[in-house]
Symmetry: D2
Subunit: 355 residues, 4 copies
Amino acid sequence: MKVGVVGAIGYTGSAVLGVLSGRPGTEVTVVTSRGDAGRRLADMLPQLSGVPGYRDLALEDPADLEKIKEKDPARFPEAFFLAVSHRASMALVPRVLALGAKVIDLTGDFRLKSPLMYPEWYKCEHTAPEFLAEAVYGLPEIHRAEIRKARLVANPGCYPTCVILSLLPLAEKSLLGPDSPVVCDCKSGVSGAGRSASVPNLFAEVAENFRPYKVVGHAHTPEMAQQLALAGGKPLRLTFTPHLVPMNRGIEATVYLDAEKLPPYPELRDLYEERYASERFVRFRGEGAVPETADVRGTNFCDVALFRDEAAGMLKIVSVIDNLARGAATQAVANLNLVSGEDEGLGLASAALRP
Amino acid sequence: MKVGVVGAIGYTGSAVLGVLSGRPGTEVTVVTSRGDAGRRLADMLPQLSGVPGYRDLALEDPADLEKIKEKDPARFPEAFFLAVSHRASMALVPRVLALGAKVIDLTGDFRLKSPLMYPEWYKCEHTAPEFLAEAVYGLPEIHRAEIRKARLVANPGCYPTCVILSLLPLAEKSLLGPDSPVVCDCKSGVSGAGRSASVPNLFAEVAENFRPYKVVGHAHTPEMAQQLALAGGKPLRLTFTPHLVPMNRGIEATVYLDAEKLPPYPELRDLYEERYASERFVRFRGEGAVPETADVRGTNFCDVALFRDEAAGMLKIVSVIDNLARGAATQAVANLNLVSGEDEGLGLASAALRP
Amino acid sequence: MKVGVVGAIGYTGSAVLGVLSGRPGTEVTVVTSRGDAGRRLADMLPQLSGVPGYRDLALEDPADLEKIKEKDPARFPEAFFLAVSHRASMALVPRVLALGAKVIDLTGDFRLKSPLMYPEWYKCEHTAPEFLAEAVYGLPEIHRAEIRKARLVANPGCYPTCVILSLLPLAEKSLLGPDSPVVCDCKSGVSGAGRSASVPNLFAEVAENFRPYKVVGHAHTPEMAQQLALAGGKPLRLTFTPHLVPMNRGIEATVYLDAEKLPPYPELRDLYEERYASERFVRFRGEGAVPETADVRGTNFCDVALFRDEAAGMLKIVSVIDNLARGAATQAVANLNLVSGEDEGLGLASAALRP
Amino acid sequence: MKVGVVGAIGYTGSAVLGVLSGRPGTEVTVVTSRGDAGRRLADMLPQLSGVPGYRDLALEDPADLEKIKEKDPARFPEAFFLAVSHRASMALVPRVLALGAKVIDLTGDFRLKSPLMYPEWYKCEHTAPEFLAEAVYGLPEIHRAEIRKARLVANPGCYPTCVILSLLPLAEKSLLGPDSPVVCDCKSGVSGAGRSASVPNLFAEVAENFRPYKVVGHAHTPEMAQQLALAGGKPLRLTFTPHLVPMNRGIEATVYLDAEKLPPYPELRDLYEERYASERFVRFRGEGAVPETADVRGTNFCDVALFRDEAAGMLKIVSVIDNLARGAATQAVANLNLVSGEDEGLGLASAALRP
């Protein structure tokens, strides 16, 4: 299978290339990076220079996609990963689809259902709203069947992946609603901020430091709320706070619910066990086992556990993913697998790199 | 002033010694460490070997306190810091008080008001319950006047210091109560776990990793709840989750409250501003300014800010301290200052070491 | 192929299991850990709990190897990885060989040629000296042909792997000798220290800290010197200093040579290019490209580059490996591949996990 | 005493402000930062917002120094710290001296004796060469007497401070010379790279990574060589390699010398003991004690130890400093103390913040 990666040099794009290097039968034939056209991929990303298939790849300009196809249609990708900045996919998606390739879009541009939400959350008008309805939200645990038939997959955001999987069994039973707030306190490694030069993400600003950021108004908020509301058939009241952890990879979510408005704990536990029994990439750790981000590093797994605080009458759900893997690259490749009729786990590592 | 430190070699004890090295007019005359008697302090703690007054200090056995006084009463400390394991202070406090010295106790042994709470939260019977009533909880923002007169100060826990200061203005106005849960999601650097050999605290278990721990049942829970209930005159419903951050020092608390059960936001903001206007060690950062642990490293400051999530109807309070400083050593020295009639800030750094 | 891992729970053993999880056609049938017999592997190492083949593995006692074979000879491994403490392999190797399995030994027990060196460098008598001659030093770049025929492979130490590959092209041309010292300044991540509880390896002792250790007398010194002397046919004068870097994985070596005693620089460059042109796991980066440990994380690659300091008349060689991969687990699996007649790179990732 | 800081917002400038906050009798009356004029210092550096004297300071434009003096000569500083980029001090020094203030220059602009060296090492012509002769190199252990009389102090670079103090006792006895190379392998925390946005210094590029940089040609090389040659009266052959450690603060130097060209080890040890016996800020740790950067964090100390590798015939010297303290801010304040006739250690912490 021939695939392409638009935005190959950022952390997301290079993570996709890393995962693809272990996917049998995959040939990456087009890689692009704005401003780096002509440079060798392996020179810019030495960590990938040992991959035989990447040795002779040169970066191309994303503006040239049409020319690239024209020049050698046989080598043109059947599917593209778009690992670009938010907003850039609004212009790319129509072009790539017109070129006959499927799209796994790693931006937020096609994750929200209504174009009206973009001005508020992404500070821009949506310029390709006609594709929003077609886009399938690429969380296999919810939309596996539709993804299989999709041309355009909106790969989920990292925080939403972790939060939705924490709450999905409850949402699907309509146990979340507007009357009781869901508190989602999330912590992420720094790679989520991308590979652009910025003072707040300098090592000396992040190491030996801990801070929340975008305490209110992070663009992942409506994405979580939307999917959970759809799953439950009713709106919910959700607050989300992201924090920056001095580490490269990993997201942890600690989610709080009023246990007094939920069924008794043993029922909840059974609910999670049943819901995730057949999901190979969600490991329900039961009660008391503490998920750690290191246990999922480099993998597509999401580990989930429940805790009951009886004194305070609260339910706590703890879940972890790797933000660049399940929160981006491995989930994107799982979606590629689904759209191309392969086994969902093709090429995905089953062991985390720990330590 | 002559002071002593029992448990000088652990992170808390050595942090107290570090702070004392900058306190004018202070002479540390007794340092103890079980099992290290006879060794030179400066050899075991090279980071303190440049302090002139510490050069010739040898460690003594805490069992020998009475003999030490007998041998040279003139050099015996007027006050002791107890930087030992939980439970050890139950035996030490009566002895030190009997020797005529004041006590700043850094363990949890005298923080809870009722001896009945110890079996549940500290897994032991209290062996000196007769001192619980006398002990003053050493959070100057609440108990300054009593601390000045105290013989025995129970220095607050690190998490409770951060959480109580986050909520104190609300508690004092009786705005926290049993009907609406207070969610306290806290994150701490690793030094809080102490300096004992343990696999979970090895570098390779903590670095590039993030995890909660004691998700339910941490011993600091009743300490927070007790002080806030006392301040407000009514019980509250509080849930607390500690998490381990791959950094040495620092605690951050993100606290969530149902804004629908609180006065309008501008009133809250005014409440915090007024309450903390005269508190030199609490820096209310207002609205939107994001506290970071690096800004308080090595200092006695607690930075607090408010955030309103209007969409979800939630109030978020973010606060940070240095767990070894405001959460232990600098607060302990502030308490020493108070019990000895000095300025509360004597010897406390006003600039954080950042980066 | 059926394989076993003795010492499955330490960092080396679990890294071997991680690599094996991606090796096609491999079945791990025996895992042992002293003191953990009966516990489930997947419970103790959640990072491996998603590997289908590991789900039902229970840990066994290494004392029971003979009984294990007797009970079910068909499931007994054809080869064992020994990921135990130094000295433990002296007793294990004779037993495992007697049971008919091949051995990849990850300790230092069979790396030195003479039993007389063990008292000095490993502080013990060698108790199985009769196997020293048979053991093949498992650095494929030197001993590939012998490894293919070996029953017992002494997997190289992490530092020696990095240092030997830095110097091999020079040694093989007899350009290193006793008259001019070779300075090997090496830096390692902390996982190399293993997973035992110890104060010096606590997070708070290592993070925001940098220090050398065993500045003189590290047991890897004779191992490097021996292999380089063998390659060059003459002894050399080598000094080695290990340092601890606050990171989990990675080794960097900066090696210094007196350029005035070497051929002109362009010849040296050609020498390295030629020597490593056909070595797929050594990436000679040429002149000026700076190797970084992150570029080899999780892989079997060693990146090497040359630098000439003309003003001082010195040659500098910089090389990097992942201490748990090329310095332990992936090299061990490469050796398994060789002893079992497979392609040397079977199951080894070609892309590093960066960041 | 009134002082000013030009370049207050960078890591060096803010570190100077941090140290000055603890110096009795010091009033910071002028702080500048290009492009930030008018902003409040305490808003831009929250870590200093608790310092009473800094509360009302506003940043000024360095172009306005003359106007600032004219407006209120009584508040104009007696001395300025220049914490700006290399090259910027060439223009500032003449202006500040003309305004009658003393200068502690933290750039490299006045460290080298000959203007001819600037094009090679700093890639620029020196535009104020007439001040080079007057500038005193601010390493008190060598130039204390001259610093006391100086108007212009060139505060030493971080690496040179560490390397020179490692070798000074040998250099002063003319034991270093051109016939035997001195290998200086140095490792630094990231704050040394400054606070400008750059991809290579992003957290995710540095954490879990180790790499050398400027392997040949770092501008600190001639600075070390020059001072050691001056101390010994003869040139030496010195090679220097800097490496980046994933930590904020700290420099470690491992220096290698051919022991066969030096006096016997006990003599060397005595030499160091004697040389540093009266130097309060150099702690000679003797033989075998391993210096760690954490032991000097935030202090003006340099810890030095010797190691002899008898098998290889090499002497190793290990030394550590805090790059932002002894390598910049505390040494600068020590120089201020000297030029203003105060005790060298006025306001300098004697205990390191560890952990």
